[in-house]
């Protein structure tokens, strides 16, 4: 039985268990379900039996499958001739892969050595055996537990409380998965970053003014200074994000105000989806729009005014990123403005306020927490955005706030540090993790600030 089929069978079993449990509960309740008072309603008895039928079996199923491979592999390896078995670990790994591939039918078995062919056959046989045993064990366990729990059903059994306890535990387990994933990612980034800071001092990284992460592979190489001062990179990110927000916030907010307060129904129903399409354009497309259209335009425009504009400028990247972010700001602000109750508008209008007075003094303040949230979300989008900057802003880590020069950003540097062949423990690669850590911390701080503002505002006004 393949695992999928087994899961299906298990599902059917627990459905049956549900019915059995419920039937028994009805039987216990007696004539018309009234004779004996049950502590919990029959459906809860059914659910309890079903849950007990499914959960232990599922647990067994998961554990079995996660250890099966290792155990079967070990058993197969033990049967191999000594000459093959005594290889160094990485060669052995390749061998194991070969065996598995042959067993799965990906490789032609005829071309392989007889010993390996034999091992593949053994692998296949053992695994088949394991699957059969698994099916038997799971079904037996499910049925046994279900029968056992069914026999323990009593009118006084607090089935509802048990079921709800189990459900709560499930919910808790699901939420901890998210927490542990986050924790795992953070810890791995921190670990690599700490390795980096062993080589390059923390303060040098954080406050150094020079970024050129090319490490010399040979001592006599030129242009490989290996400086890891990240300030130019941070500054570039800040500059581009600032330009993006200068474009996105006014345009997004004003279009949101127009859409929700002034525009007619028809215009709104056409314009809102159109603006939201902007959010659906892949960032790569924005990237070449920035690199091929906006950047040359900015350069030519600069030439008209006698300004020397780099062909890859922060301005071009920032403006295009701003355009990309407009729908975020617009859509979220629009939602929050619409959520302001009509009664508040009526109150302002009835005092003789004009539309713009109502918007400025009543609606925007009331919608502000949401709008702030939208804007901060957009900022973290901007900070994390990669593709546009890679294509339009360049790689040069210039220490400048001049939007007409080429700059680089944290995300771009992470990308360039990690592509290409290099060892995974060189400072160059590890620097990517340090940058990632900083990015993570900054986004976290932004979110905390956003939450703080929103909460303070709420306390004041609700």
């Amino acid at each position: 039985m393949s695992p999928i089929v087994l899961l299906g069978v298990l599902l059917l079993l627990s459905a049956a268990a549900y019915h059995v449990g419920r039937r028994k509960a009805f039987a216990m309740a007696g004539a018309g379900g009234r004779a004996v008072r049950l502590h919990s309603r029959p459906t809860y008895h059914g659910a309890l039996v079903a849950l007990w039928c499914a959960l232990p079996a599922l647990l067994l199923f998961g554990l079995w499958l996660s250890f099966e491979n290792a155990i079967v592999t070990r058993m197969v390896l033990e049967r191999l001739p000594e000459s093959l078995r005594s290889q160094p670990p990485d060669r052995l790994n390749l061998l194991v892969n070969d065996i598995r591939n042959i067993a799965a039918g990906h490789f032609d078995a005829a071309a392989a050595e007889p010993a390996i062919r034999e091992a593949a056959a053994a692998y296949q046989r053992l695994r088949g055996l394991s699957r059969q045993a698994l099916s038997a064990a799971v079904i037996a366990l499910a049925a046994l537990v279900a029968v056992f729990v069914r026999r323990r059903l009593r009118p006084s059994l607090r089935a509802r409380n048990h079921v709800e306890g189990i459900l709560t535990a499930l919910l808790v387990a699901c939420s901890t998965i998210a927490i542990f994933t986050t924790l795992g990612i953070v810890l791995s980034v921190v670990y690599e970053a700490v390795l980096f800071f062993r080589i390059i001092p923390f303060w040098e990284f954080l406050f150094g003014l020079n970024w050129s992460p090319q490490m010399a592979i040979r001592a006599d190489q030129v242009g490989a200074s290996g400086a890891f001062g990240a300030v130019p990179v941070f500054l570039g990110t800040a500059l581009i994000s600032a330009i993006a927000m200068t474009v996105a916030v006014p345009i997004g907010l004003m279009s949101a105000i127009y859409l929700s307060e002034y525009a007619g129904k028809t215009f709104r129903s056409i314009a809102k989806p159109l603006i939201e399409i902007l959010a659906g354009i892949p960032t790569v497309v924005y990237g070449f729009f920035a690199a091929l259209t906006v950047a040359p335009f900015v350069r030519d425009l600069g030439a008209v005014f006698g300004l020397g504009v780099a062909s890859e400028s922060a301005l071009a990247a920032g403006v295009v990123m701003g355009i990309m972010i407009i729908p975020f700001v617009c859509s979220l602000s629009d939602d929050f403005i619409n959520a302001v109750p009509q009664a508040l508008r009526d109150g302002a209008y009835s005092l003789g306020a004009t539309r713009s007075e109502t918007i400025r003094r009543v609606i925007l303040p009331a919608a502000l927490p949401g709008i702030m949230g939208g804007i901060l979300l957009a900022v973290s989008r901007a900070i994390g955005e990669t593709m546009i900057v890679v294509m339009a802003a360049g790689l040069a880590a210039n220490l400048t706030v001049n939007p007409l020069k080429a700059v680089t950003t944290v995300t771009v540097q992470i990308v360039t540090l990690l592509i290409g062949d290099q060892e995974f423990d060189s400072p160059k690669t590890l620097a990517a993790f340090a940058l990632g850590l900083v990015l993570f911390v900054v986004t976290l701080v932004l979110n905390v600030i956003a939450l703080y503002i929103v909460r303070r505002y709420r306390e004041q006004y609700e």
Binding site: A348, Y349, L351, G352, V362, Y461
Partner: protein, 296 residues
């Protein structure tokens, strides 16, 4: 006290009556049926507002049928009637608050000092400053108590400086009977007050801009008897200069504060007359039923 069940009973009675008179089913957009004729004199001498043949539709549904009524100077007009009969709908027409409701259409004439307020040329902003409104549900702004009241005077530039603004705010709050309760918490959010306090805050907010006509939609429904009598005193005082329309479910209140009373029933204006006459000697059977609580 007139209980809600009785009002509802009165309504169902009304509907039954209509059915027995055999009305035609409605045809989209057109009046579902002919309006009932209003009993009593709708006109007054030298009126402030004049409504003639007012119909209000929500989409295809007609909520007000051919209502004509005058609002006099220095008079309090009470509007009574069972729940859902269109009192709020009608009173909102008087300062064009229905403009903000999608699908709401008003036909007929409403004149303020001889000018049709639904005329294209009329600007609703000064109109609403002139005809203020207190809503059925309190709707304070999410601002401080002070800012709630100061909002109107600010946008209309009624105060030259902060001290004058402070005075306006205090006077308005005093008149609404709220000053003593909030004078120490002027900077706290208006939405943090109790329901009745919020309602009085909205009243203060409305009178702070000195409207000449004040529309009050059940201003006392959330108030205790003491706060109610403060508001009624305010109405007495305001009447010396202004006109007031008040919607109320309390007959006693209508009898206490108003000079004229209008009885609405299912979108029709059934009867209008001097308050005393309406309460002592109603002419229309529907009015009688409603006033006396006698059904039959």
């Amino acid at each position: 006290m007139f209980t809600l069940t009785r009002v509802e009973e009165a309504m169902t009675k009304g509907t039954e009556r209509e059915r027995t008179t055999g009305e035609e089913p409605s045809a989209g957009g057109r009046p579902e049926r002919e309006s009932r004729e209003t009993v009593g004199t709708v006109t007054v001498e030298n009126p402030r507002m004049v409504c003639r043949g007012v119909n209000v539709f929500y989409g295809d549904k007609q909520a007000i049928r051919n209502v004509s009524i005058d609002i006099g100077r220095n008079e309090v007009l009470a509007m009574i009637g069972p729940s859902g009969c269109g009192k709020s709908t009608f009173i909102r027409c008087l300062n064009r608050m229905n403009d903000t409701i999608e699908g709401c259409r008003v036909t007929g004439e409403i004149l303020l000092d001889g000018v049709n307020i639904y005329d294209r040329k009329v600007d609703v902003v000064p109109l609403r400053a002139q005809v203020g409104m207190v809503f059925q549900k309190p709707n304070p702004f999410p601002k401080s108590v002070y800012e709630n009241v100061a909002y109107g005077p600010r946008i209309h530039g009624l105060a030259r400086d902060r001290t004058e603004l402070d005075r306006i705010v205090e006077t308005a709050l005093r008149k609404a009977g709220l000053w003593e309760e909030v004078k120490d918490r002027l900077n706290e959010p208006g939405t943090g007050l109790s329901g009745g306090q919020q309602q009085r805050l909205c009243i203060a907010r409305t009178i702070a801009v000195n409207p000449e006509i004040i529309l009050m939609d059940e201003p006392c429904s959330a108030l205790d008897p003491i706060a109610t009598s403060v508001i009624e005193d305010l109405i007495f005082e305001l009447r010396t200069q202004y006109s007031i329309c008040i919607v109320t479910h309390s007959m006693q209140q209508a009898a206490r504060v108003s000079q004229r009373t209008a009885y609405f029933h299912l979108g029709d204006l059934i009867e209008v007359g001097p308050t005393e006459r309406i309460f002592t000697n109603p002419r229309h059977p529907l009015t009688q039923d409603y006033i006396t609580g006698r059904f039959g």
